[in-house]
């Protein structure tokens, strides 16, 4: 019995880890590699969620012709239940709709990313931050007030497109999510070690000099924002399909902008492994707090949520103060397509001596052991 609960908790943990990992990796590519401080990342997640909430149920109702006379939003549960019974023995439609939603969300959120970044992408950091925060707020306001989109402050049910999996559904969806996350990871990793990654780093380090050697800085920044907005929206799509619902109130600034920023600041700016480590640490902590929430709630005369917010805020401040480079700092990456050994030989032929690599420093444990050994003597 306890094992069962523990297993469910682990699956939930892993699921949220994957969702947040998609967001943090994209954020890392935008800020860590390109230097765009995207403080409105929640709007892309919300964009993905809205696409799922608005289209999945409507398209499936049209396909199966379920209650065509009823209003989609007001009779949402009834319609969704009926669609789910259809989906239980129709795997092809389910998978097709799922893939369609992913593609639709990619396309729409690429456009959205272009629109929101357009006003300020050529300006300096502060303006961009203000505009993006404002745009994320606008997205939330539209979601909360435009009832036909995702049901305003209520929610809209998302039909279970993997209903045909039966009992294996949770695990099956987890595997699908893992594949998506892995795909995004590989794509971003490939991009960061390609010539594009080099250009992007040049833009981060010094936009003026990048422009001087003929790189279109504004164009590159726009492309990165558009691409990363599109990829981030997949997190919103998967989240919608995972909880079978889309709540416009759940895409808050603290949940989908502040926490991802915190995660990749913890892990290390400018490398994907750091983002993964930070996300894992933070998600575990947060899930533990949520798990033990009710035990703490007895002792304090307020909601534990606020305590959690204070804790995470203080954590971020401490990290910025004492370890601004994160747990895993950025290392110089070897670019694909460059012949490093060739460079070596060329330099040696010209008679330039290359300083030999420094011997690897001992880590903390080894230093401690060495000190103990010397003391014994």
């Amino acid at each position: 019995m306890i094992d069962d609960i523990f297993l469910k908790w682990c699956i939930d943990l892993f699921m949220f880890f994957l969702l947040y990992l998609i967001v943090t990796m994209n954020l890392n590519f935008m800020y860590g590699y390109t230097g765009i401080p995207h403080f409105g990342i929640s709007l892309s997640v919300a964009g993905g969620g809205y696409v799922v909430g608005a289209f999945t149920g409507r398209i499936l109702r049209w396909i199966y012709n379920v209650y065509p006379e009823l209003d989609f939003m007001y009779e949402n549960s009834k319609i969704t239940n009926q669609i789910n019974t259809h989906l239980a023995n129709d795997p092809f439609t389910g998978i097709g709709i799922f893939l369609l939603m992913v593609v639709l969300s990619l396309v729409l959120n690429a456009g959205l990313g272009y629109i929101v970044s357009r006003p300020a992408i050529r300006l300096s950091g502060s303006y961009l931050i203000i505009v993006l925060i404002g745009m994320a707020e606008a997205m939330r306001i539209i979601g909360m007030n435009y009832y036909p989109l995702v049901g305003g402050t209520f929610w809209v049910h998302v039909p279970d497109v993997f209903n045909w999996m039966g009992n294996f559904r949770t695990e099956g969806f987890l595997i699908i999510c893992t594949f998506f996350t892995l795909g995004i990871f590989l794509l971003l990793q490939a991009m960061s070690t390609s010539p594009l990654g080099r250009v992007v780093r040049a833009v981060r380090e010094n936009p003026t000099s990048a422009e001087c050697v003929g790189k279109d800085v504004v164009g590159i920044r726009t492309k990165v924002v558009v691409l990363c907005s599109a990829l981030t929206s997949i997190a919103g799509v998967l989240y919608g399909f995972y909880i079978h619902a889309v709540l416009s109130t759940s895409y808050t600034r603290s949940a989908w902008t502040f926490y991802p920023w915190l995660m990749f600041m913890v892990g290390g700016v400018g490398n994907n492994m750091g983002a993964a480590v930070g996300t894992f640490i933070f998600i575990t902590l947060r899930r533990l707090i949520i798990f033990f929430k009710h035990d703490i709630e007895i002792f304090v005369p307020f909601q534990v949520q606020w305590l959690e917010q204070i804790l995470t805020g203080v954590m971020l401040l401490l990290i910025i103060m004492f370890r601004p480079q994160g747990l895993l700092p950025e290392k110089p990456t070897k670019m694909r397509g460059l012949d490093y050994d060739g460079f070596h030989d060329e330099l040696e032929n010209k008679g330039i001596k290359i300083p030999e690599k420094k011997a690897k420093k001992d880590n903390m444990l080894q230093r401690l052991l060495a000190r103990l050994r010397t003391r014994k003597k």
Binding site: R118, G134, M135, I141, T312, L317
Partner: protein, 315 residues
């Protein structure tokens, strides 16, 4: 005498202008957008709330308290975070993130206070409106008079300080070129501390007026924040007068624009009110990134040149 729409617009504009003056001031001095500022206003909101609902006295007693608390919080933010992090070598982006973190911490603190008041004292502490506790002069609500007078005093005081006092000149010098100012013997840290405290005090003051006219709660800072950002950006983020102009332009357009839209398209459009300042901000950034201040400056230069040409021709 006054239609309610003008009252709405003026009270809102007064609050937004006071906050955008502070936002611009901090941006000029420290070069970072102060995202924690909206929480100073929420502190002011809860000062008024505590005076009226808990102590049951005149709401205007909260004014000095709001100023002091806001200024103290700003002092803590500056000395504790901004100054320390700058010493550790953090850039503007790291400072911005840390201010967002601080905003979250402060907001959580205010929420804890609200929860405490509701659970322990049994007073409803979210989404309150205290119009009934305000005094009236004929048709005019007290908050309109008091906030307008305060804004005028603040603007005149700022103008006097920036142009006539030694400190104001030191402040302007710091804005122009901080290292050079410090070479000339200006204590930059003191200037920064006082600017931050002015910002906090103004935001706290703006917050104390809010619940007397609008429905307020822990979220009202966030409601104001978007307009304040837009007002400051439209004003140009380069001088205080731009912020004043931007504050009034944005908030009056927001209130009246949403009213006009509601009249033409129906009431549902009122919910999207915050999109008006955002749209204005985007337009300004696309066509005139320097804001209204730069626009006016350009027009002035054009006008002067034309005048000069005319004078030369007449000779």
């Amino acid at each position: 005498m006054f239609p309610p729409l003008i009252k709405d617009a003026l009270v809102y504009a007064n609050c937004v202008t006071m906050m955008s003056i502070g936002f611009t001031l901090v941006y000029l001095i420290s070069r970072i957008p102060n995202f924690a500022q909206s929480t100073f206003a929420v502190v002011g909101v809860y000062c008024t709330f505590s005076m009226v609902r808990i102590l049951e006295i005149n709401p205007y007693v909260a004014m000095p308290l709001g100023v002091i608390l806001g200024a103290l919080l700003a002092l803590v933010v500056y000395l504790g975070i901004v100054n320390t992090l700058t010493k550790y070598g953090a850039g503007p982006i790291l400072l911005t993130i840390s201010l967002l973190a601080l905003q979250q911490i402060f907001l959580a603190g205010i929420n804890i206070y609200a929860d405490y008041v509701r659970n322990v004292l049994g007073i409803y502490s979210r989404g309150f409106m205290l119009r009934a506790n305000d005094f009236r002069v004929g048709d005019m609500p007290g908050v309109l008079i008091v906030s307008s007078v305060t804004v005028i005093v603040v603007i005149v005081g700022m103008h006097y300080m920036l142009t006539r006092t030694q400190f104001g000149i030191a402040m302007r010098a710091t804005v122009e070129n901080a290292p050079l100012a410090s070479v000339l013997g200006i204590n930059i840290k003191k200037v920064s501390i006082i600017s931050w405290m002015i910002t906090g005090g103004l935001a706290g003051l703006a917050g104390t007026f809010l619940p007397l006219w609008f429905s307020s709660g822990p979220g009202s800072g966030g409601m104001l924040a978007t307009s304040v950002f837009a007002a400051s950006v439209v004003g140009g983020l380069t001088n205080i007068y731009g912020a004043i102009l931007g504050g009034y332009v944005i908030s009056l357009l927001e209130v009246w624009g949403s009213y006009l839209l509601m009249k033409t398209f129906g009431l549902w459009i009122g919910a999207y009110r915050l999109l008006i300042p955002l749209a204005l901000m985007s337009i300004i950034l696309m066509y005139e990134p320097g804001g209204l201040a730069a626009l006016i400056e350009r027009l002035r230069v054009k006008f002067l040149r034309a005048k000069k040409v005319r004078e030369e021709e007449s000779k």
